[in-house]
Symmetry: C2
DNA sequence: TTGAAAGCGCTAACAT
DNA sequence: ATGTTAGCGCTTTCAA
């Protein structure tokens, strides 16, 4: 890789002049501009971003970090795409990491981001009181939380109304006449799991059901744990007649168990999922689901982050988007 | 963020000594080690990777780039996870970008990677004669191609036997008695599309079929294009009785069209897909598919890259993994 | 065993 | 309009 120095030598000017030409700024005579550009072209010169980043103060690096809890979850993929598109059109680069719901990895990537000197960070904290993230926020680094927010500290965030989304799903089940509704939650300590469970119990209580503790399960937000929970539930002496699954991957896991057992949906067992998927209509049967605007969450989060990078002292904002119940044939 | 300088001041030593302690190397007396470590801890010092990267020569940066064609495609997600896991256990960080099958974006990210000074790159070239990638390889940067390889240049690669995978899928269809088999391909200029089409025509020819050009379609490897191609095919006067879909997303798009039209699989129309998915069993009906070892591809590619970084002059290797036909109920 | 100092490639303040 | 130079945070010779 060629450097400023080489270009300068070839063009017979100082490195400062080359820098000026390349950065497009300042007063450079047309003739030197041309000479320099020719040299730039000839050497296929690309500014070394690493050096640029080392030099420039924070806020000018045009690089943000994105820490994703689980890239296998299509919901986060939507978020990622939203962030990416927004960054792309604003000339920001994205340094992305996937911690696969593993807190140790999350910590590692957090450190990495700090030492990569990003301008800001978009992430879904492992828990509401994620110490590391709280430290980061307090340190003054621009941070936007997505999907899950933080307690005890003021921070920008873009989340969804999980409690209401869950509430409407469970109430829908109740209205359809299901009597024994189970909740298959994700990781017990993350806000989304808790809020969705809240929606679940609220709907049940409001409709005069009494809660059955053995119908409330939590796992680890992944496919395999959806399988485990569904198996446990379905093999009870008095099994549920409907499943409310806490996310995408759990839904898919539960579906797999149901199909393997040769059970009929919704006659033998009904199911409604949190998170819609592009192929929900192609599932057997087409899945009724609570749809989250993942792409929009990503776009908004990125916009919010740019905003804070530009204006570090502005008030924090918490954006709550709505979910939508998409009715198909699984309950 | 604290720097070496601050730690040095606090510990009353030179920055060189701190650097030595932190990097774990060299002869440092036990007593100074302790003092320094205390200071490091107190200031929560983390080495600035940007500075490290600027300083250290290539091969020591412990950072690789990963350029993914389409993160919405679950196959690539598997590859990503394989790469990540391998990197994680070898203390490499991954700088990941998704170009969403957009060549302009690909070029941008390629430039970005170059200027980010990564130790090496894992990528799926946009085409077999992707000029930019070829330039990169020739420049000496360690590169491993996944999923698709390069023509006219020697490069490390991990791919799958697309032609045979497609061949066995189509032959399976033929053996089941289907007579009018269509191919719904991805982007026409990428190697996988071409090789899978080759498998398709080979199987047909070998079994005495004559090719029907109007049954061979290509699109852009995405969900929407699967819908478009399926619609076109299904609305013909003399439509196919079986669909061989060129990838994941195309399969899902085709499935959506079939279901929207109220057609029965496999009676009205059969379908077999390239790429299996974790939830294939939960589709309606459970999908018969050609399964690629995505995770393994990722792991192998990362291993291969580390290898080349360590030994830049070793011979190139082309690894071809096998696909597996997973038989379910869609044909 | 430790420190001083050069230099990675760049930007920006200052000088010309 | 252009050049000189300091310095971002680090590693690594060389010297002490």
């Amino acid at each position: 890789m060629s450097s400023l120095k080489e270009v300068a030598k070839l063009a017979n000017v100082s490195i400062a002049t080359v820098s000026r030409v390349v950065s497009g700024a300042e007063y450079v005579s047309e003739s030197t501009r041309k000479t320099v550009l020719k040299a730039v072209h000839k050497l296929d010169y690309k500014p070394n971003k690493v050096a640029q980043r080392l030099r420039s103060k924070s806020g000018n690096k045009k690089l943000i970090g994105l820490i994703v809890p689980d890239i296998q979850n299509p919901f986060y993929v939507d978020v990622v795409r939203g962030v990416e598109d927004m960054c792309y059109s604003n000339n920001f680069a994205v340094f992305m990491c996937n911690f696969a719901q593993d807190e140790t990895k999350e910590r590692l990537y957090l450190d990495l981001m700090k030492s990569e000197a990003v301008d800001g960070l978009i992430l879904a904290p492992a828990s509401e009181k994620d110490v590391e993230v709280i430290k980061l926020v307090k340190s003054g680094l621009p941070v936007v939380c997505v999907d899950r927010s933080l307690k005890e500290v003021d921070v920008d965030s873009v989340v969804v109304d999980n409690r209401n989304g869950a509430f409407s799903a469970v109430e829908f089940l109740i209205n359809r006449g299901y009597k024994k509704i189970a909740y298959l939650g994700g990781l017990p300590n993350i806000p989304t799991t808790i809020q969705r469970q809240r929606g679940y119990t609220d709907a049940l209580v409001k409709n005069g059901f009494k809660l059955n503790e053995s119908f409330i399960l939590t796992g680890d937000s992944k496919h395999i744990s959806g399988k485990k929970m569904a198996t446990e539930l379905l093999e009870m002496d008095n099994p549920p007649d409907a499943l409310f699954t806490g996310n995408n991957l759990i839904t898919l896991g539960a579906l797999e168990v149901i199909h393997n057992k040769g059970l009929k949906i919704p006659d033998d067992i009904a199911i409604i999922g949190f998170d819609d998927m592009p192929w929900s209509i192609s599932l057997n049967p087409p899945l009724t689901a609570v749809s989250q605007p993942g792409y929009e969450i990503g776009r908004r989060a990125a916009a919010m982050l740019f905003n804070r990078i530009a204006e570090p002292e502005r008030e924090n904002v918490q954006l709550v988007l709505n979910t939508k119940l998409v009715i198909r044939d699984s309950c």
